[in-house]
Each structure stands twice: as C-alpha cells, then as structure tokens.
C-alpha cells in the first residue's frame, strides 16, 4: 500500500479547553483515493476535517502532509501547500460576484496574474455555468450553483488534497448524484479526497477506504471491498448506526 498523502495520527482535539471532541483519532488518506469518514451526529467527523485543515489546535497527536509534520501550520499555509477545504456551511462571499469569489480563491498566488487568469479560465471550462454567471452575485444563485462555485474555488489551488464536508447536504437528489460523480473524478485525476458525509450508502459507494467514528474515537475502518453487500463490517455499521444502508 502506498504511503498516505495526508494523515492525522492519535489526534486529540478539545473545544473550550475541556470538551474533548476527538480522542486519539487516526485517519490516513492516499492519492487517487476517496477516503470517506462516516458516523452518527456528534462523532467528530467535521472536527476531524477541520483538524486536517488546521482550523483547530491539537491537544496531542500530529498532522502530516506528504510525510512531513504540519501540525503547527496555519490554515493559510496549508492552503498554500495545496490543501483545499469545502466546509459544510456556505463559505462564499455573498455580495461578491462569481468572478470575485474565484479571484479571492487565488489569494495564495494572487501576484501571478497570468496564473490567476489561467486557473479561473480552467474552472470556467470545467463548470461552464460559472462562466455564464461570472458577473452575478453568488447570493442570486441556487444552492447547487453555489456549491459549484465552492468546488471551483477549491480547485483553483490545483490541490493535492481536497477536504469535503457534507458537500451534498441540502441539495436535490439529482444534483447530489452529479456532485458524487464529480467527487469521484477528483480522485481519478490523482487528488487525495477526504469526504465527510451523512449519506452512508453514497459515501460507501464512492470511497476507496472508509473510516467510522463514534463519540470522537475510531470505531472501525476498511476498504470498499470490506463494505460490500453481506460483509460483516457493513452489517455491523448498519446495525450500529441504525441505518438502512440500501
């Protein structure tokens, strides 16, 4: 098995000093794979993702990128190293146009104007709807279109790692399917995708490796094959999470 692109190891994270959200959690993610993180509400899934991006200080443990310890690195430095984050809640600048939102997405290389233009044009080529609406304020767009802006903004960095927190929450099923296809394509293009999702079935379908968290701890993990129909791990997760997976 290849070495992980990004990993958290024995990470403990607490809010307000004493409310422990993650307790010695370890997750590894590899290039060309979707690493899914599932678990019930309060399991610490989103906290784990924020920890990958450096939004929360560690009480113990470490975060590595390409084998290098980046535990003390700030989020802007991680973004500069090609780690992109699409959070669960809208992270756009509502009154700015699509173009301005994308321009700000190029912040870490903003002085290289040619690269900024080239990257934004590449995003427009990938998501033509954004080119059509480039001058519109993002607040005037639908939820799905706003998600495209967020995905496009994340891709501007040409990330090696992309962190996705509930990317299809609040989206219509048809649009959601489109996004799952898109997420899978990121991994197929060689990116390391770390996906937090409440939709266990969909997450299991597109993930190469799944981590299950419970009450801030590692509960289980396994490859996609280990989650196939009739597998013990799948039955265990279904029973434990009280989910009807199919």
């Amino acid at each position: 098995m290849s070495s992980p692109t990004m990993a958290i190891k024995d990470v403990t994270v607490a809010y307000h000093g004493d409310i422990t959200i993650l307790n010695k959690v370890s997750i590894e993610a590899r290039a060309g794979q979707v690493t899914g993180i599932i678990g019930p509400n309060g399991a610490g899934k989103s906290t784990a993702l924020k920890t990958f991006f450096g939004l929360l200080p560690l009480r113990s443990g470490s975060v590595t990128l390409h084998g290098r310890d980046i535990s003390r690195q700030k989020p802007h430095d991680r973004a500069g190293e090609g780690v992109a984050f699409v959070p669960q809640h809208r992270s756009l600048f509502a009154d700015l146009s699509v173009e301005d939102n994308l321009v700000l997405g190029c912040w870490v290389f903003r002085h290289d104007k040619a690269r900024v233009r080239r990257r934004i044009d590449a995003i427009y080529d990938r998501f033509p709807i954004l080119r059509d609406k480039r001058n519109d304020p993002v607040s005037s767009m639908s939820g799905g279109q706003q998600r495209f802006v967020e995905f496009g903004r994340a891709l501007l960095l040409e990330p090696s790692v992309i962190l996705l927190d509930e990317p299809t929450a609040m989206l219509a099923p048809k649009i959601s399917r489109e996004f799952y296809t898109l997420i899978r394509s990121f991994a197929d293009e060689g990116m390391t995708v770390i996906l937090v999702d409440q939709n266990v079935r969909r997450c299991a379908e597109i993930s190469d490796h799944l981590y299950i968290l419970e009450l801030g701890r590692n509960k289980a993990d396994g490859s996609r094959e280990q989650f196939q129909e009739g597998s013990a791990l799948r039955d265990m997760v279904a029973a434990w999470m009280d989910y009807k997976i199919d």
Binding site: L96, W107, V108
Partner: protein, 293 residues
Amino acid sequence: MSGLLLQGIINGLIMGVIYGLIGAGLNIVFGVLRVVNFAHGEFVILGAYFAWFLLQALGIQPFLAMPLTFAVFFGVSYLLYFVLIPPLAKADDPEISSLLLMFGVSISMGALMLLVFDADARSLSFEMEPVFLTFGPVVVPTVRLVALAAALMIVAGLAYFLYRTHTGKALRAIIMNRDAVRIVGIKVEQLSAIAFGLGIGLAGVTGILTALVFPSFSPFVGADYTLIGFVVIVLGGLGHPIGAMLGAILFAVTEQVASIYFNPSIATICGFVLMVATIFVRPTGLLGRQALR
C-alpha cells in the same frame, strides 16, 4: 428653490462627505474586526493636531500633510493592532470587551492630548484666495470647496481600493464571511491589521479636513465625532463602508437644511430623528443586510 435652502444643501453635502469618511473608517474597523472603536473621534482630533504640528513646526501645508498623516497613522495603527486587538479574542464576549477597551483608549487619548496640547481650542491657520466663492445666491468658503474636493478624492481612492484591488476585495469578503477567508488562504490577522490601520489612517486624514471646515478643535471634541460616526453607520448600514457615505450625506443635509428653519438644537434633533426613523423602517440601515452579520 430659495438661496438659503440651496446654501443648506451645499453645506450639508460638504459636511456629509467628511462625516462619511469618519463613518467609513469606523465601519471598516467594525466590519472587519467586530471592534467598536470608541476612540475613533480622538484619532480624528489627533489627525488635526498632527497637521497643526506639521504646519507650525515644519511649515507643511494641511493638504500636503494628508498623505504623510495617513502613512503615519496607518503604520502606527497597524502595529498597535497586534498589541490591542488579538488578546480580545480570549475574552468571553470579545465585542463588549473591545468596546470597553476602546472606551479606555478614548479617555487616555483625550487626557494625553490635553496634557500635550493644553485645553485651548486651536485652528489650522490656513487661508486661500479668494476667501469665498460665489455661485448665484450661494457663498462658499474656498477652503471648504477644496476640502470637499480632497474628501471626494479620498472617497474615490477608498472605493477603488475596496472594489478593485485584491486586498480591498478581501476586506469586503471578511466583512461578509469571516470564517471563509481562512479557507482561501488569507492571513486573517494581517488583513485585520490592515483594516485597523486603514480605519485609523482615514480618521487622521479626516481630522485635517474637519480642522479646515470647522473653526477650531480641542481635545474635548473627539467624542462628538465618534457619535457622528456611529449615527452615520447606523443610518448607512453597519459594516458597509459605502453605506456610511450615503448615511452621512443624508444626516448632514438634514441637519444643515433644518438649521435654516429652526434653531441649531432643533436641527441636531432632526438629524437624530432621521436616524431613529431609519432604524424603525429599515433596522439594518440603508445598505446593510442581515445576511452579512
């Protein structure tokens, strides 16, 4: 339209643009940092004293002193940010703590200016020829018109910065969604320091304009300018720099036109009535949006 009414409107426009700059500086600091800068008026007065010192000691004319004043106030405030503001994040309620902190800064600055410059009212002894310009029934002091032109240039520069540059767009973005700017790799602390520097730099420059437009200044009038700043940003919309300009012009024109028909106390009340009425009709201010808060 009577000549007096026209005179009131012209005076209101001149005052309004200057009040708008006071509000814009206050609004940038509040919008980006969520810091209620109670000392903003003292920074305005300090700007006036700085220009007075440059004129008296070095013979630098007030309009030439503006870029220097902005640079000095921006630089010092940029550094001051790291001393004053980051520790507030550890407080249970950073906004209330910031209000109390800046109230303390306001009192300290007032006392220091009193110590250094005495209690006597001072003025910038700067005259232009001709002293007055006449436009039909309207008579306007030349220096006021030049101050208006300077203020409009500052407004244009500010608008260009906020709407055309990467850093300006990032400042507007942080007002809209503070958490999201980290995601795109922006150093929030550095940007916040720039906002603090910009807000206080504007206060310093506006201080020179007020000293040119009003007859005198003293260490005691800072609070008046802070109050005006708050009124115009409430009118225009909290955290909205351009809204502050609109609110200021409305406030000043109302006040100046009312002063033609009523005594000055009533005129001041009219300005505040406008603010209260706006809050009732549109609580977020003229250009403010609930979604941004």
